[in-house]
Amino acid sequence: MDVQVKETKELVMGKPNLEVFSATLQDLAAGDQDIIVVTSDSRGSGKLVPFGQKYPKQMVEVGIVEQNLVGVAAGLASAGKKVFAVSPACFLTARALEQIKNDVAYSDNPVKLIGISAGVSYGALGTTHHSLHDYAVCRAINNLMVVAPADNVETEQSIRLAAALDRPIYIRFGKKPMPFLHAEDQTFEFGKARMITDGKDLAIIGTGETVHPALLAAQQLEAQYGIKTSVVSMHTIKPLDTELLDKLSARGCPILTVEEHMVHGGLGEACASYLFQKGCTNKFRIMGIPDEYTVTGSQVEIFDHYGISAPGITSVALDLLDGNFRMVKK
C-alpha cells in the first residue's frame, strides 16, 4: 500500500548515541579508576579520543586484533576491572565471537562488549562493515545480555548500569544523532522495555535506532487513520520483557516488530518464539533486513529501501490491520 506520511509532531534532536556513550564513560571514569576502556584502533570511530587524553592510564589500546580485544578484556575483568571492550559491532561479534562465547560469557567475566557503528550505520561501506547478525549470535550465547538503546537517555542509562553490572553484556548502537523519545526522568532497567506511546489498536516493537521510525509511523497512523498504537522500545533483546509482551498480546491487537538486523534470529523471532509458544493468536509481522546483501546506500537509504521508515512501517501496519481502520484525514 502506498502511504503518504507527514511528520505530525516534532521530536527534539539529541546527539549520536556514540557521543553520549563516550561522555558517560568519561563521567564514570572521573570517579572510578577501575573503569577501563579497551580499543582495537577504534578510539577515533568510538569518539574516545577525549577519554584517552583525559584518562590515559584507563585506556588500553591493543591494535587491530579483535580476538585479543575480547580475550584481554576478559583477563582485565577477571582481575576486577570494569572493562568496556569497544569495537565496530561487525568485527566485535564476528571476528571475536569465540572469545565472546568462551572467555566472556562461559567464563563469566563481566566484560561490557560495546558494538559501535552497529547495524547498517556504515552504510555504503557494505556488508563487511554491517552487523546484521549480532543479535542472533549473541542471543544464542548463554549468559550474555543483549541491549540496543534507542536514544540518548537509554544509552546513558545502559552505560551507567553496565558499569555496575556483574555479568557479561553486549550493547550496540549507531552513530547518527537520535531524537529524544521520552522524558529523561523515566526509570530504566535492563529487561524492562519502555512504552513510548500506549494505544490499543496496534503494537509496534522496535529496538535501537528503529524505534524512531516506529514512533513516526505511529504518529501518522493516528493522524491519518485514528489508529492508536503502542510503540515499545525493547532495548533489551535478551532477556526479553515477556511481561510486556503478555500485556500487548492480551489486547488481541496486531504486533509488528522492527529491527536493524536480518529478519532471522533477532528481535522479531525472539518475540515470535515467546508469543507463539504461549499460544498467542495475534497477527504478527517481523520487519528488518531480508536475507540478502543489502542495497548500497546510507543508513537512511537502506532503511527506506527495506521499509524501515515511517511510510514503510505504516504500510505494513495497515496491511496487518486488514481494513479495520478508516481514513480520518488526508
Binding site: V60, G63, N68, G71, G75, L76, S78, A79, Q99, D103
Partner: protein, 274 residues
C-alpha cells in the same frame, strides 16, 4: 617438601591421572603426562596460592591454555587440597562438574578453557591489571605446541611485549606432537625461540621433566626487565610410560586393562627406585 618427595609426587600424579582417565574411558593421556611435571613444580614450588584463600587478589595466577590436558590439572589441584580427590571418581560422568576441560565450577580453576589460543590473551589482561594496580603477583599459562599456530597467541605476544609485561610467564609444553602427527608434519612452528624473541619476549629453554631446572627457571624471572617471559619446556608425550612415550595414538588413547596394569606397575617401580 624435599626434592625427593617432589619427584615422588610427579610419579604419584602420573598414577592418579592415568587412573581417572582409565576409569572415565576418556582423556588426553599423552599431553597430560608431558605436562604433569610442569604442573607439579608450579603448584608445589612456584605459585603463591593458598587453597584456603583461593580468591586472594594477590595470588599468582595459573591459566591452562591447553585445556585438554585437564586430567593433569585436576589431579594436581586435588593433591594441593583444592577439593577432595574422590570428586574425580565422577570425571566426565553424567552431571559431574569435572568435565573434559578446565571449568571454574572446579575449585582452583581460574578460567574456563578448552578452545585453543585463548589462555594467553586472558593472561595478558590479568598481567595488565596487575601492572595497573602495582601488584607483584605473577601470571602463568601453559601452552600446547599444537595450539601455538593460533593467531590469537601471536596477537597476545605483540600486546604483552608492547606493554612490557614482565610479570607474564608463558610455558610451552613442547612435546612436539599433536593429534594428527608431529608439529613438523602438521604445521612447522620452528624456529620457535627466534620467533618469540623477535616478538619482544625473553625466552629460556628447559628440560620439562627436570623438576629442579623447571623450578630454577620459573622462580627466577623476569629473565629481562620489561620483557614477558617464554619458557620452552622440552617434554616427551606420554612421559613415564614406556609404551606411550612418543607414540602418537596416546594423544587421547585410553589404555585397556592389561596396559593400564602395566603402566601402573612401571610407575610403582619408578617410585620405588627414587
Amino acid at each position: 617438601m624435599t626434592d625427593r618427595e617432589l619427584q615422588q609426587k610427579s610419579v604419584q600424579l602420573r598414577k592418579k591421572l592415568l587412573k581417572y582417565i582409565y576409569q572415565a574411558k576418556a582423556g588426553h593421556t599423552g599431553g597430560s603426562l608431558s605436562c604433569i611435571d610442569i604442573l607439579n613444580v608450579l603448584y608445589n614450588r612456584v605459585l603463591n596460592i593458598d587453597p584456603d584463600d583461593f580468591k586472594n587478589p594477590d595470588r599468582d595466577r595459573y591459566i591452562q591454555s591447553k585445556g585438554h590436558s585437564v586430567e593433569a590439572l585436576f589431579v594436581t589441584l586435588a593433591d594441593r587440597g583444592f577439593f577432595p580427590e574422590s570428586d574425580l571418581e565422577t570425571l566426565c560422568q553424567y552431571q559431574s562438574h569435572y568435565i573434559g576441560h578446565p571449568t571454574k565450577k572446579v575449585r582452583g580453576v581460574e578460567q574456563n578453557t578448552g578452545a585453543l589460543g585463548h589462555g594467553l590473551p586472558i593472561c595478558v589482561g590479568e598481567s595488565l591489571a596487575a601492572k595497573m594496580d602495582h601488584k607483584s603477583h605473577r601470571i602463568f599459562t601453559l601452552l600446547g605446541d599444537g595450539e601455538l599456530p593460533e593467531g590469537s597467541n601471536w596477537e597476545a605476544m605483540l600486546i604483552a611485549a608492547h606493554y612490557k609485561l614482565d610479570n607474564l610467564y608463558a610455558i610451552l609444553d613442547y612435546n612436539k606432537q599433536q593429534i594428527t602427527g608431529s608439529n613438523q608434519e602438521v604445521m612447522n612452528t620452528e624456529p620457535i625461540k627466534d620467533k618469540v624473541e623477535a616478538f619482544g619476549w625473553s625466552v629460556k629453554e628447559v628440560d620439562g621433566h627436570d623438576l629442579k631446572a623447571l623450578e630454577d627457571v620459573l622462580n627466577n624471572g623476569p629473565f629481562a626487565e620489561g620483557k614477558p617471559n617464554f619458557i620452552i619446556a622440552h617434554t616427551i608425550k606420554g612421559k613415564g610410560i614406556s609404551y606411550m612415550e612418543g607414540v602418537l595414538k596416546w594423544h587421547h588413547g585410553v589404555p585397556n586393562e592389561e596396559l593400564y596394569a602395566q603402566a601402573q606397575k612401571e610407575l610403582d617401580d619408578l617410585e620405588l627406585a627414587l
